[in-house]
């Protein structure tokens, strides 16, 4: 058996450098480096490890965005991905999570993966919706927050999900979508040979002409949600300490204040 694995990767601004323009409440992009969404690095690593485990397997990285995403796709090649595909078209611009997952799913129909792996969410939008969205558009089973792939063969994968109060072991039929958490592995650093290979490997770019899509479902037009405003939450002020002789007295003060604020 050999697995055809596709990993979805998003390029995001390096959050260690993120600054917000206080006037406009938008991200200052000037001079900010772009990186692979950190959660996606775990997805890439897991796919590369599966390829090392299951001979003959292949990892393809799929991303959607402007041409500058190619630099992150090259980074993915340098840590062991075999091929990279970029969906880039003005038609795709402004997509929300529904339209993004619709477009990625359309590309999946061409790539025909046995397994799709994504990071659990991206650190810029933090929605965690695109992975599950792809599964829904493709009518595939999905397992989110995967922390371990115990077993995998042509038919099924047995995986562990990381839950708040423990692990859940799930057997899932392939093809399926897994979203992974950082506990799953420790992503490797690139190798020199990987970097050389990345330099030589061309990025495959697909436009909308390469996909079978409904134009009404793409980009801003196809997005049922729109972001009306982005802002930094106001800084929380310090709390107020309530003094009093005893618990009774303090409680009375609290109740009076709550009534004053019309909370109770």
């Amino acid at each position: 058996m050999a697995l055809n694995i596709v990993v979805c990767m998003k390029q995001v601004p390096d959050t260690t450098e993120v600054r917000i323009n206080p006037e406009t409440n938008t991200l200052i992009r000037d001079g900010v480096d772009s990186i692979i969404n950190p959660f996606d690095t775990y997805a890439i690593e897991e796919a590369v490890r599966l390829c090392e485990r299951v001979e003959g397997s292949k990892t393809t990285i799929l991303s959607m965005g402007p041409p500058q995403v190619e630099s992150s796709l090259k980074d993915a090649l340098s840590v062991g991905a075999d091929e990279v595909v970029l969906l880039s078209d003005r038609e795709f611009a402004g997509a929300d999570t529904w339209a993004t997952s619709y477009t990625l799913a359309a590309a999946m129909k061409k790539l025909k993966p046995d397994l799709i792996i994504t990071g659990k969410q991206a650190i810029d939008g933090d929605t965690a919706q695109v992975g599950p969205g792809i599964a829904v558009h493709l009518d595939m089973p999905q397992v989110c927050y995967v922390s371990k792939i115990r077993e995998i063969n042509d038919e099924v994968a047995i995986v562990e999900r990381l839950l708040e109060d423990g692990h859940e072991v799930v057997e899932v039929k392939l093809p399926a979508v897994l979203t992974v958490v950082k506990e799953i592995n420790e992503p490797r650093l690139p190798s020199l040979k990987g970097k050389m290979k990345a330099k030589k490997t061309a990025v495959t770019v697909w436009t909308n002409d390469d996909l079978d899509t409904d134009p009404e479902c793409l980009g801003l037009t196809g997005s049922p949600t729109q972001v009306s405003k982005i802002f930094s939450p106001p800084k929380r002020g310090g709390g107020e300490m309530i003094d009093g002789e005893n618990a009774q007295e303090k409680a009375e003060t609290v109740v009076a204040k709550l009534k004053e604020l019309q909370v109770i």
């Binding site: 020199l192 970097k195 330099k199």
Partner: protein
């Protein structure tokens, strides 16, 4: 911005990769290895996985050098040393141990040993120094006596970098007592060879992440085919090795100094005294400017020397000695000044800067003390003068 030394695209990749390993793997681990004096295997495994042990070995032997191995070795050593001069030494010490094979071994010997070193599967070490043979390297007493198709080695080597952790050792022994320096030969001895054991492990002032041990040979039998070069050429091999390796020590010293300078400048902007950062004091500004000039001057000398060795037009002894001597003297002074900029905090182990000085000091001593380097430089000057007349 950095000075342009004409590195090619692959060398820039090597630099970026070494820089990434330094930042992500060495910086978080350096205090622990310094404190515990343990060999940094997790970092070494990363350097191996990233193919960096191959940078000083040519492509035909599994490496990635194309006649530019010494420059590549300096690039990696500098970047790793910016984070930790001790951890960098496991890499640089392997380079030193490998050079006799690269420079003087037969094609068969190169094919046998170099691919494993290039892949990082096995580390190398260089075994010359003995208790009574430091600067006076020709005074070694370890002997190798011919016995049929073998040699039998007896003696003790001292202060051997990577001792016990390396698997491939280039060892120098006397094969003909009557011939002095022309009576020494070089052998490859593998860890595990009967009669070869690792002796005392040293407790050191600096470079504590690097292992420094004795090598003990007691009737250690090695096949004559493991002799590098002809009998009696050992001392020549050692000298050729130093010509190529000393810029590597220079790059270690350079990296330590550059790392210390960066920390000091960063700190000077954070430390507030008299209501303003200490970086606004001209006294410190001029110190930092002097430190930066010294660092760049060393860097220029080292990479020019490395390029000269990679494109040989004759023996580079003088320039190798200069790069090692200038960079190491510079490094100790820059580290002292960096501690001064940190003030009282710089003296405390809680801050990383005192370790830089401890790591820098050795670079004035090993692979020939700086007094020996000055001897080499002066003797080259006098020889050149004599030849002009």
């Amino acid at each position: 911005m950095e000075l342009d030394f004409g590195f090619n695209e692959e060398q820039l990749m090597i630099r970026d990769l070494a820089r990434q390993i330094a930042k992500e793997k060495v910086v978080p681990a350096r205090a622990k290895y310094d404190e515990e004096q343990k060999f940094p295997w997790d970092v070494i495994n990363q350097i191996a996985a990233s193919d960096l042990f191959g940078v000083f070995i040519d492509t035909e032997y599994g490496g990635c050098a194309e006649g530019n191995g010494i420059t590549n070795m300096c690039i990696v050593t500098e970047e790793l040393s910016k984070a930790c001069g001790g951890i960098a030494l496991a890499f640089a010490g392997t380079g030193l141990g490998t050079l006799p094979i690269i420079l003087s071994a037969s094609e068969e010997q190169k094919q046998k040993y170099l691919p494993d070193i290039a892949s990082g599967k096995r580390l190398a070490a260089f075994g010359l120094t003995e208790p009574n043979a430091g600067s006076d390297a020709a005074a070694i007493r370890t002997t190798a006596v011919k016995d049929g198709d073998d040699y039998i080695i007896n003696g003790t080597k001292q202060w051997i970098t990577n001792g016990g952790d390396a698997e491939i050792y280039t060892v120098f022994a006397v094969t003909d007592k009557t011939k002095g320096a022309r009576g020494a030969s070089c052998f490859v001895v593998e860890l595990g060879t009967p009669g070869f054991s690792i002796g005392k492990k040293e407790d050191k002032f600096g470079i504590r992440a690097s292992s420094t041990t004795e090598l003990i040979f007691e009737d250690c039998r090695v096949p004559a085919t493991d002799m590098i070069g002809k009998p009696g050429t050992g001392f020549m091999t050692a000298m050729k090795t130093f010509d190529a390796s000393r810029p590597g020590v220079g790059s270690q010293a350079l990296g330590i100094a550059a790392g210390a300078l960066e920390l000091a400048v960063d700190y000077s902007r954070e430390r507030i005294q008299f209501g303003k950062p200490v970086s606004s004091n001209q006294g410190l500004q001029w110190m930092m400017a002097d430190m930066a000039m010294q660092v760049e001057a060393a860097r220029a000398l080292i990479y020019a020397t490395a390029r000269t060795i990679d494109n040989p037009k004759g023996r580079a002894t003088k320039f190798s000695a200069m790069s090692k001597c200038f960079a190491s003297d510079m490094s100790v002074q820059v580290c002292l000044d960096a501690i001064q900029i940190f003030g009282g905090y710089g003296y405390m182990k809680e801050y990383p800067i005192e370790k830089y000085l401890r790591d820098a000091k050795i670079t004035q001593i090993y692979e020939g003390t700086n007094q020996i380097q000055r001897d080499e430089i002066a003797s080259a000057l006098i020889k050149e003068s004599a030849q002009r007349k």
